[in-house]
Amino acid sequence: MQANTNETQFMATLRAALGIKQDNAEKRAAQIFTSPNDPNPEQTGIVETIKSRQGKDYMGLIDHLCREAVPLKLNVIPVKDEAQVSKAIVELVKETEPEWGTKKSVVQWDHPLVNALDLKTALKGQNVPVHTAVFDSAGMDNIKRSKAKERVRQQMIDSYIGVTSADFCLADTATLVMRSRPKEARAVSLLPAIHVAVIRKEQILTNLKELYTLLKYDPDTRDPGVLPHHMTMISGPSKTADIELVMVHGAHGPRALYLYVITE
Amino acid sequence: MTHATLFIQCIVDGMYPEVGEAMVKLFQRLDITMDYPENQTCCGQPSFNSGYRKEAAKAAKHYIETFEDAETIVCPSGSCVSMVRHHYPELFENEPAWKNRAIDVGKRTFELTEYLIDVLKIENTDAYYDGTITYHDSCHLKRYLGVAAQPRALINQVKGATFVEMKDSDTCCGFGGAFSTKYPDISTAMVKEKVKNILDSGADAVVGCDMGCLMNIKGYLNRHNLNVRVMHIAQLLAGQKAGAV
């Protein structure tokens, strides 16, 4: 295989440059890489801390999150239950206009928490369609699948509000963390002008360090390869300061981001 | 009895002997006895900074030989001290005997303000200055020797003086040795901004610890007929009220 020959040569060049004569790669690898199965006491402690959090710990995290979110223009809204979120989205749809075109539509993930909002019913009154960005690829041939994908993509392009959940939320940086899954299309949080996310308070972590520790050292959280093929982190709506360092929100991604945190 | 061996770097020796004089006057007042090895020349920094390490090493060997027997060496320049302390050992990477001698002499070479504050723990120099002072942080002194609080502590104990910080006191003045003559436009743009910050501070005098920077600042002020006094910290600290003993 060409790629392999080329990799072999590349590595030989590196070893020559490093002045490494004997190939003790395995030994060096053992010294460099930490093992997911072998957390140090600090890491074990972090996992335990996360798993033993109680109600008031979460309230502290929500406060922290709300504070950090303000300068990022991320609207964090703690709510009691799913019904409140659903109501808020109905209001949002009433008050806002689509950015591209005139027809209002909403796109969402196929996710238990998002499904529980029952947006289809809630938005029936306004006659606003709610699309679920998903298709069942079982038994599909290539042509059918690419058609299904095209349909989902068009729904995401056409919708002006995208509703998602997230795997985690990091309070310290006001960051939503999403590991990609087939029922959780990436562009739902990207193409629509407004992104609405809904999570439960138990999904809040303190910071990146907690996230990484959990992803790597917690067997309940870990993917087979530590991370899936793709993961996204989102801290606030899209922004730029490329013209005279003036901060403008809504560069390429969503112009606004609402995060509902269910507290009960 | 406190004793210091003076290393008076070339700029002060040749161009600003009054700075050396001020240092002597100050030390006398503080009861520090002094000697001045007459064979001293240049620390080699100009050559080192331009890449001429073989030439710098010659100067370094001469410095080491000249000052090796001194217990405490004091120099009114942060960049010369940084040269001795940090760069001499680098120069002798392949000459271990010289390297050790360099490290040894480097440990005993101090910049004036770190000597007064860190070594002697002096709290009062009995200095007097009637006016407002601002301070320029020389790059090598602040970043390579970590000396920034010491000169400020010394300025703050000067009676009669008001101290004001200028904007960006630790931004380079644009001297940079050969840089200032090789790239005069860039160097000038930098000193222009430094002078603006000095003027904006409202001080009537700018104090520093390195005549390289002060020569640059003073040269610009003089050319543009700007009236701000430029003082080495030794001059400030040597100053007393008329009639004081």
Binding site: L14, R153, H230, G253 | M34, F179
Partner: protein
Amino acid sequence: MNHDTATKKYVQNSALAIKDEILQSALNKIQSGLGKATALSYQNLDEGPPLRLKAHEIREKTINNLDVVLTRLAAKVRDNGGKVYFARTDKQAVDYCLKVAQQHHVKQVVKGKSMVTEEIGLNPAFEAKGIEVNETDLGEYIVQLAGEKPSHIIAPAAHKTRQQVGRLFEQKLGVPYTEDPPELTRIARKALREKFLTADMGISGCNLACAETGHMTVVSNEGNIRMSTTLPKVHVAIMGMERVVPNLEDHDILFRLLSRGAAAQKLGGYVSYIGGPGGPEFPDGPEEFHLVILDNGRSRILADPKFREILCCIRCSACLNACPVYGKIGGHAYDSTYCGPIGAVLTPLMEGMNQAKDLCLGESLCGACKQACSVNIDLPRMLLELRYRLAYGDDQWETKPVSVVEKTIHQAWALLAGHPALYRAVLTTFALGQKIFPTSKGMITKMPGPGAGWTKSRDIQPLSQTPFRKRFKKLNAQKADR
């Protein structure tokens, strides 16, 4: 370009930049705003600024074992379903990207902001094959429309005013003139959304890869990189071979420092971890992911122990925001892909020391870059090292001695420094000889030769007729008398 021409160009470009008031105001804004905010953001780290030292250790360990780390990265990316290509040269990297593009009949590319694609000249190569390449970072887009080059690693169009951008958009996009940044941003948003939706291929750089998980991470605040790496069918990422860390724990530290160094943020707005394509069951995302790992002169740097440290750089650009020289001359004066202090070290190593000598000579060695560096790289040490190689020449780097005259001057000075009597005699002679120069208020106003640069804008103190060495004895005796 011969070396003298290069110097002339550097000097001229700097002089022009210094006179450019728009640029000066932009540079001032970057340094006084972003530069200071970054310094403060290091202070606010949970671990404090010493985290930079820890980060340096991680980077050093990685670079010293780069073969092992890259082997793991490649294996893991392949496990994730991605393809990995190792490119020795810029040409190999470009050719590989073109090959992928041709396999997929690509007509239009959207590109996330990346310095490494500037380095390998990707855009012109694609355009030569009739493939449209659209820069999608707003700053890069502006620069591309204007036919210019980026002037800052993370704020590429920092040198342009809102009025200039307004006129540019009016001209190139046929929209009515406006100088309102939100409106200008909206215009670009609209124009580029079409490109995102129709592009067949996305190209990105890589901010930092993590070997153990087999991912590269890309960061943007605009969302353009998410768009470029989510919507097209194929995604090719190009990374300089050093932009990797072994473990997630290391990534945590480096990544937080990267965000702070780049934009004084705790974390970049959008971060994508990309290891491979999704399977057929995924509704979106590219169907193919290629990672190109580039050498292009880096292994030569790796082989030189004195310069290896520069490979620790994660291109956060914090050094640009602190360097007083960059703060005066801006990015274009450097005339190379990488500008500022990082460019001053890297460009001579990549493009030739003689060719790019002014970049390392034209720095004042103030040390602000090291202090600003998110991973505490000793840039001044390497500037000095480059000057050393230039002074005597260096066969391994095909470097010739920079100046015979200069060398002779330093040899003469060294001779004096070693001979005190001669030193004293010569300085006394100089003190007498200088009387021929014109003076004002006791200072010399005009000097010939190397001094001419100085006296262009400054006076200089003449040598004293009674230097300190002639005064000390008498001064010291005064005390004894008392």
